[in-house]
Assembly symmetry: C2
Homo-oligomer: 463 residues x 2
């Protein structure tokens, strides 16, 4: 009988703000980072499990502490039994009676629950010798519904609804697996579209993306209307009238401003508009969607939880469900969202990029296609060619399509050397950058922690 | 010229789970706690400012670290100038380009921004020699709108709308101040209604609350329908037909379950139903509200941000706006919500209780009455007689009404002895409880932190 005896937690940050890669109208200086967890069993026969919270730099230490607190909630019991009850364990972590006050079901404590849940899934998949997508695809509908937290969902999706969807998904499963293994899964790219690229650089990358076989190109917008028009005009001319071109406003606009701004971009034939306004604004998205139809609305990468997706779907406020492995409570909550999307007939196109998000979330798109959505209509996986070299099993994209991974696990494992080098703040990578004056030396903190109480002080408490 | 030179942060937890005070259908074992901040200036002429994030125990250390990170975002500049620009500073803390990924505008990072904002308001009010409510009431409309973050609000509330409301609120201000100082502000109490009290104890407390002059009694429900019926029947008989009786389900129900359950409680004449379902479920609340009218729906204590209130109001999903000084980004965001409520003609009745929430939030109800809502119709302040003794300036409730405080500041300051005694985990109060076996000794943690990089290891980074 194995047990988890150690949880190794690392604050790993990559200095991506130095070259502004990944920057957009809102995320102006991201240092793509992970609060990285390794769960270790006492039996060396058992594989470690890896999971993380992705962040933009500041606050990665907060995510690391959140993971530490959530790890403290794990039961000290037979690991085999735990892996058979990942739904129950996930619900216990998400709804902890004290910690839930910091949400409930939102913010960094919620993301940390996801990292821990995902690390357990990593162990489960490695133990089974299967990549996560295949493990999920082989599970019975009755096992899969146990993963889902139906609380507060039942007015939109019941256990019975989910079972019906999953049972229908068993038909033709083997064919769809064979098809994906043969053809891969369509990818789109955000690579050419970052703000701050010159028109020449952008156009070169756009042409390259079309030649590379990508299904769609996504351009960042919402800095300046004249720039958006010029860049989208150039891009549309370069790709021709039928190629999918989407835009991403990264939450920048007011509701009415979005409608007005988009009225000027409509003629570039946009596949979707992503995050036109605040990610919590369901009713705002519904108004925007109605005003800009038939242009699609996509959102989800910064959503709070499955209850927000429920309402976005109920309110007809989106067309594309952008699940995310880091903003939500891991595999469990994302499967809930995939089932919700299926119930409402909307495609799931995950948010990826950052660091390691492609590696993780690809599994859920394959699972969705094989067992839930069963269609490629409007389905894609986001791809950005960035930071994959730090992963043991980096994603493989060939001719604009993801190749299905066969390595056991979720894909979350980093190379130990990458963890060591970019440990924040004292890893050798960071030390080197500071010595070369490329990143500032840390300011002396003004924070004092409360002095530990004097051990001689006694109080008699009458509680 | 003064500057902030120190931020003292303490993890203070009160062992309230020992006697289950404050427990309800969801919060079963709360240890009411504060991640407590003192901002200290370099000039001894300047007062310290206090603020905190309230939590239920676990995660209080996370809130403390979040405050530490947010404090690191404060500009190192003239304190006088900072206090003149608390709107600008609040927006910078809430929308930090990296930290916002952990929300945006939700979870513990958002609450921490509130604690820091509130500590600055505490300095500003002390420096002016005024309690917060009077400081706010004396500010000009043009100064007050500068506090508000109108981003993503403009489809419901513009700067011009807010100015109009605040300018109208200048008329008769002196009379309303005089009235409140003479008569106090109506309070309601949750004291008698906790689950787990025997019927006898509950009835004794209900009768006591009526005699004490409280305006309303709130009962916890949603554990068991038969219990709810019996307890509400007894309480209604005790208070007579005209007394306000409200219930609080603490998020327990599914949407349809709420409607069904409440159909059995309707006949007890309920003033409001609080948190019938998940706090993020705007559309669910709208459906419940429509089904149970004319019973009111109240929510907000666990909301994410002002954008959720915007939508609850737009969707006609609530009747009572329950602002909170700890779930939101402090004075600034709560003033935004007060203005939103006024725009939609709904009363603000803050969430209080916990530890210190009454002390803080009372100021905003007075401000609302004096300058914004200008009516007592449906307005009250929640009161629970619990943990006030730890505060330098505890609230004073006489004949069921809050007396307006005159002490300068926000009321957030704890007695230093309380901080010292209940410092977690090693304050003498906690040590004593552990020695007496009343709280368990901490489990050895399984967490290892990543080993600091070897100082001799060199890498040449090509960034």
């Amino acid at each position: 009988m194995a047990r988890i005896v150690s949880a190794r937690i690392s604050d790993v940050r990559f200095p991506t703000s130095l070259d502004a890669s990944g920057s957009d109208a809102v995320n102006v200086d991201p240092d793509h980072s992970v609060a990285y967890l390794e769960l270790i069993a006492d039996d060396p026969e058992w594989p470690s499990g890896f999971g993380y919270v992705f962040t933009q730099g500041r606050g990665n230490d907060l995510a690391a502490l959140a993971i530490e607190i959530v790890v403290g909630l794990l039961p000290d019991e037979d690991l085999e039994r735990m892996l058979d009850h990942l739904g129950e364990i996930g619900r216990a972590l998400v709804h902890d009676s004290q910690l839930r006050w910091l949400g409930p079901e939102k913010g960094v404590a919620h993301m940390a629950a996801g990292a821990v849940v995902n690390a357990l899934w990593d162990i489960k998949a490695r133990r089974a010798g299967l990549p996560l997508w295949r493990l999920l695809a082989e599970m019975e509908p009755e096992e899969l519904v146990e993963i889902v937290d139906f609380s507060h969902l039942s007015d939109a999706l019941t256990r019975e609804d989910a079972l019906e969807i999953l049972r229908a998904g068993q038909h033709g499963k083997a064919d769809r697996i064979a098809e994906l293994e043969r053809d891969g899964f369509p990818a789109y790219t955000t690579g050419p579209g970052w703000l701050g690229f010159s028109d020449e650089k952008m156009l070169g990358l756009v042409r390259g993306a079309v030649e590379a076989g990508f299904t769609m190109i996504k351009m960042k917008v919402a800095g300046d209307l004249a720039d958006d028009r010029r860049r989208l005009g150039l891009a549309r001319d370069a790709v021709g009238p039928d190629f999918r071109l989407a835009i991403d406003a990264n939450q920048r606009w007011e509701v009415d401003e979005a409608i007005e701004w988009l009225s000027h971009l409509h003629r570039f034939g946009l596949w979707w508009v992503e995050e036109p306004t605040a990610p919590d604004d369901i009713l705002g998205h519904a108004r925007i969607r109605e005003a800009i139809a038939p242009t699609r609305v996509a959102t989800g990468e910064a959503g709070a939880n499955r209850l927000m997706f429920k309402q976005f779907l109920q309110a007809d406020a989106l067309d594309v469900v952008q699940i995310d492995m880091s903003h939500y409570a891991g595999v469990n909550e994302n499967i809930a969202s995939i089932l919700l999307a299926a119930k409402f007939g909307k495609p799931v196109v995950p948010h990826a990029g950052g660091v390691g998000l492609c590696e993780l979330v690809q599994h859920l798109s394959y699972f969705d296609y094989i067992v839930v959505g069963r269609s490629l209509d409007g389905r894609m996986l986001e791809y950005i060619d960035h930071l994959h070299e730090h992963f043991r099993a980096p994603v493989e994209v060939v001719d604009g399509r993801y190749r299905l991974p066969s390595a056991p696990g979720t894909g979350a494992e980093l190379h130990p050397a990458s963890v060591r080098t970019w440990l924040f703040p004292d890893g050798p990578g960071w030390r080197d950058l500071r010595e070369r004056g490329l990143v500032p030396r840390p300011q002396p903190s003004i924070v004092e922690h409360a002095i530990s109480a004097d051990a001689d002080e006694r109080v008699e408490v009458t509680a």
